[in-house]
């Protein structure tokens, strides 16, 4: 960065400058995740707008939840799809979607930062997701196994980044694949539970597991 503006946080790391693009909150809402009845009892959430860049999804819920995929129409992202675990009876999910800076805000005060390609990288009229913690944990490797992940305290009702949870295991006994999804739920504001849960059976597609040995739990907050 040879010119322009740079903000450094108290960790001596760059918060804002013309090199990095910050992820801003573009949409939020709440929905009811339906009671689990089969591997196809997922919930499709539709964005109010469409996005050319895949949004990162943060959620807040007290029951196990997994992000299956983003949904698309043509080349635009239009929503996301979530699935709960076999024991759920339906519950409320609060969510935020974040994308790199794009449209300019309508505010007529504050500060905007552009990069040298004239792309907007920060706009004080927008809300940005603040990352409060990121904890690496060992992925549970067997059906029903879970792991408790402790995160930083002092945050009221934090959000978890479902987009960061990787993997669905598959194990094929007797010609059928059983899918094992990685799901997360909040125990307390500083403790989360990760579980591998079987939720679907389908025609055999192979043998083995499909999970990274470790992955990251990311905690976000919308407040400064």
């Amino acid at each position: 960065m040879a010119f322009g503006f740079r903000a450094i946080n108290d960790n001596n790391e760059v918060q804002i400058d013309g090199t990095y693009t910050n992820h801003l909150i573009v949409e939020s809402g709440s929905y009811t995740q339906p009671a689990f009845s089969s591997g196809t009892s997922w919930k499709d959430v539709t964005f109010s707008n469409t996005y050319t860049y895949p949004p990162i999804i943060f959620t807040r819920q007290s029951y196990y939840l997994s992000l299956l995929s983003l949904t698309k129409s043509g080349s635009n992202f239009t929503g996301f799809r979530t699935l709960s675990d076999t024991g759920s009876t339906g519950f409320t999910v609060d969510w935020y979607a974040c994308v790199p800076s794009e449209a300019i805000s309508l505010e007529n005060w504050g500060m905007r930062v552009w990069n040298e390609s004239s792309e907007l990288v920060f706009d004080s009229g927008r809300n940005y997701m603040k990352i409060k913690d990121a904890v690496t944990f060992t992925t549970p490797s067997s059906a029903g196994a879970s792991v408790t992940v402790n995160t930083v305290g002092g945050i009221t009702s934090p959000y978890v980044c479902l987009s960061a949870l990787q993997g669905r295991a598959f194990i094929t006994p007797g010609g059928f694949s059983i899918y094992y999804y990685v799901l997360a739920k909040r125990n307390t504001d500083s403790q989360w539970q990760i579980v591998i849960n079987p939720v679907y059976q389908f025609t055999a597609i192979g043998n083995g597991t499909w999970l990274p040995p470790s992955q990251q739990l990311i905690i976000g907050s919308i407040t400064a």
């Binding site: 946080n9 698309k72 597609i205 990274p212």
Partner: protein, 98 residues
Amino acid sequence: MSYGLKIFNSSGTATLDVSNRLTRLLYERDLPYNESSSTTVTGLDSDCVYFAINIESGATAPEKFPHLISVSGTTVTWTAFPNSSFAANTKLIIFKYK
């Protein structure tokens, strides 16, 4: 706060201050469903997190499998699901957060 940047909204509520960690996009790449490979990402370190987002949602079950991602040093490696009929095109995103 004794130094640095603090931003307020029009209601006077602080929306950003020096203790906040924002997500800063470091690297992105589209991973074809049948590609397994690796690359070096400048700036990749322990202050980064990475995503493998399934961008090929199916209308019916089963959902396809996105790539698995692993990181060692500044090298990021992606592995496609071995059965190509169930492998998804994936978006790899890496951002810094500290």
